[in-house]
């Protein structure tokens, strides 16, 4: 902000000082400046400004004006005139001239003082210096939060997030490790034993075969890491062949038998089902025995 004191002597005895302040002092063409003119005078008189309302020929254009008054000391008042001026043209633009008119309580002019502020606004032109359109008012700048204040907060947030991620990672690893520790063969054998007891308790053999097929497929998927639950018997056969699985024939026989029950309406008796369960247990047991590398 630039403040200029234009008059401080008791010129007419009624005026004790005129100050002009404006901001900013450097703008782009079409931008606005805010100009405040303060006139200190005797409390009995009335003050008005002339010359700023008709600026159409000058590079300045009046956009808005406001006037306020305040008592500064006994018998003295200060009139404040706020102008919003749009500035056009380019280069150094001296502030516009104005006249302070003082009237007595009857309205008679007792003094008319012209002023020419020495300060100027520097206008940076854009591509077209003849432009006379107002530029939009810039949004008010948000107060900057000091970095030193944000930094500890940010560090705290990142720290907490890091700890949470680490905990999640450790939890996931623990779950995975414990899941890997569960032997699919052991699980399958337990399920087969349960199935055997259910069969003895009167479970229909076709249901037993369906369950047997599911147990075998789950075991194959987990033990040999092949896609068995969404695969047909032929696909399982192909995958197991590639892996050179021990007991391949028995596995395929079991699956084929289960397929016959499931899809060809084959009705085995309870004894056949028991035999198949025993065969399945054998296959799983033999698959769990680790083979030596030279085998």
């Amino acid at each position: 902000m630039v403040t200029v004191s234009l008059f401080s002597a008791e010129a007419s005895g009624a005026l004790s000082g005129v100050t002009v302040s404006f901001k900013p002092d450097s703008i782009l063409v079409g931008d606005r400046i805010h100009c405040a003119i303060g006139v200190r005078h005797s409390a009995n008189d009335l003050v008005s400004l002339e010359g700023l309302d008709s600026l159409s020929a000058s590079p300045f254009e009046l956009v808005n004006r406001k006037q306020s008054s305040a008592v500064v000391s006994p018998g003295k008042r200060q009139e404040r005139f706020d102008f919003e001026l749009a500035v056009f043209g380019s280069g150094r633009q001296p502030l516009p001239r104005f006249t302070v008119v003082l009237r007595n309580s009857q309205g008679k002019v007792i003094s008319r003082e012209p002023y020419r502020p020495s300060s100027a606004v520097f206008v940076r032109s854009l591509t077209d210096s003849t432009m006379r359109e107002l530029r939009p008012i810039k949004p008010p700048l948000k107060p900057m939060i000091p970095l030193l204040l944000i930094l500890p907060v940010l560090l705290g947030v990142f720290g907490i997030a890091g700890i949470v991620l680490l905990l999640l990672f450790l939890l996931k690893r623990t779950v995975r490790t414990s899941a890997e520790k569960v032997d699919p063969g052991q699980v399958a054998q337990r399920k087969l034993r349960k199935l055997g007891s259910r069969l003895s308790a009167g479970m229909p053999p076709p249901e037993c075969y369906e369950e047997l097929s599911n147990i075998m497929r789950t075991f194959l998927e987990k033990h040999y890491r092949i896609r068995a639950l969404e695969a047909v018997t032929q696909e399982i056969e192909r995958d197991l062949k590639k892996l050179g699985v021990a007991g391949f024939e028995s596995i395929m026989n079991l699956l084929a038998q289960a397929d016959l029950v499931k899809f060809a309406d084959s009705r085995p008796d309870a004894e056949e089902s028991r035999q198949s369960l025993r065969k399945a247990e054998e296959v799983i047991r033999s698959a769990r025995i680790p083979h030596s590398p030279d085998e």
């Binding site: 896609r227 639950l229 969404e230 695969a231 047909v232 018997t233 032929q234 696909e235 397929d259 016959l260 499931k262 899809f263 060809a264 309406d265 084959s266 009705r267």
Partner: protein, 332 residues
């Protein structure tokens, strides 16, 4: 146990009844090298009254396969080259005026045959395509005021060239849906190519094809196919596959939700079941397993699934979508 015995008996009958197919395959192998999958699909379509849309670049023996197939099966063959100036009358026939007796007589078009090769079907305008597709659906043709039933078996194999699209009339989805299968004809393997070259690069006449099929063989086979047992689990598996193409998220394939513009129609379920039955018949089985369904799933579904914009942007083809569906839908 009674049903299982019946199925075993049916299996024996199927083995007997499907012998003519092995004989025909032997005849085909005398002229056609490789393309076993295409030949199998043609047999499947013939056994369940379906039609096939063949897609492949020129020179892959499409015409040779079909011509040889018709000859081995003792069926009347017609090749119709579809062109932009073709009219429906060129296909189905027209009424001819006889000045001697002042009467109009129907002259039957080339569609009156058992095996039709509709070559480059997308070269003809919609009205000609519709005439053929109507004949395929209704199995009868109306010339003037007279309606003529088409001969049985009636099998249409339409070809489309996947490379050239200029000056073609793309078959609308509703028309494509009428084809039971869309079979992609691929290049032969290295060894097959070598054999083709040695066999064809000669001036000697090709090996003669002996018709090996009796008149009622196909009808008998069709009757047995109707008896093939389909367990409710397999029925549900077929429906699951088709519904998964419409609502993939329900089957744990949410990633496909945006990839599919529209899924397979109920015709897909019907044809999937029919084709699976025929596939089981060719394996001499009296029941369907999920293997049969999976074996023909690509051919039956690929032209019924329209990939969305996202799939096209990612170069995801219908076959990729079907692969994902088959991998995620649990097999019974």
């Amino acid at each position: 146990m009674q049903h299982a015995v019946e199925l075993e008996e049916l299996g024996t009958r199927i083995t007997e009844a499907s012998r003519f197919i092995q004989k025909a395959e032997v005849q085909l192998s005398r002229r056609v090298i490789g393309q076993h999958d295409v030949i199998r699909r043609i047999f499947i379509a013939m056994l369940v009254n379906g039609h096939i849309l063949l897609e492949g670049v020129p020179g892959l023996a499409k015409t040779l396969i079909i011509r040889t197939f018709a000859a081995a099966m003792n069926l009347k063959f017609q090749r119709i080259q579809f062109t932009p100036d073709m009219l429906p009358a060129d296909l189905i026939g027209t009424m001819i005026y006889n000045p001697k007796d002042l009467e109009f007589y129907p002259r039957k078009g080339p569609v009156f045959a058992n095996v039709i090769l509709a070559d480059e079907i997308n070269r003809s305008p919609a009205k000609v395509q519709s005439a053929l597709l109507e004949a395929m659906q209704e199995r009868q043709v109306t010339i003037g005021t007279q309606t003529f039933p088409l001969e049985e078996p009636f099998l249409v194999l339409a070809t489309q060239n996947p490379i050239e699209h200029e000056g073609t009339y793309v078959l609308p989805e509703a028309q494509v849906d009428r084809f039971m299968m869309k079979v992609l004809v691929d290049y032969p393997s290295y060894d097959e190519e070598l054999e083709i070259m040695l066999q064809s690069a000669t001036n000697a006449a090709s090996a003669p094809i002996i018709p090996v099929v009796q008149a009622d063989d196909i009808a008998k086979a069709r009757a047995l196919i109707d008896l093939i047992y389909v367990d409710p689990r397999v029925q549900r598996y077929i429906v699951d596959l088709v519904v998964a193409s419409r609502k993939p998220a329900q089957y744990g394939i949410a990633s496909l939700e945006t990839m599919i513009e529209f899924g397979a129609s109920p015709r897909a379920s019907i044809f999937l079941l029919l084709a699976s039955k025929a596939h089981a018949f060719l394996q001499h089985r009296a029941y369907i397993t999920p293997e049969d369904v999976k074996a023909i799933a690509y051919d039956t579904l690929r032209h019924r699934i329209r990939p969305g914009y996202e799939a096209e942007a990612d170069n995801v083809k219908p076959d990729d979508i079907i692969r994902q569906i088959l991998q995620h839908v649990q097999v019974p």
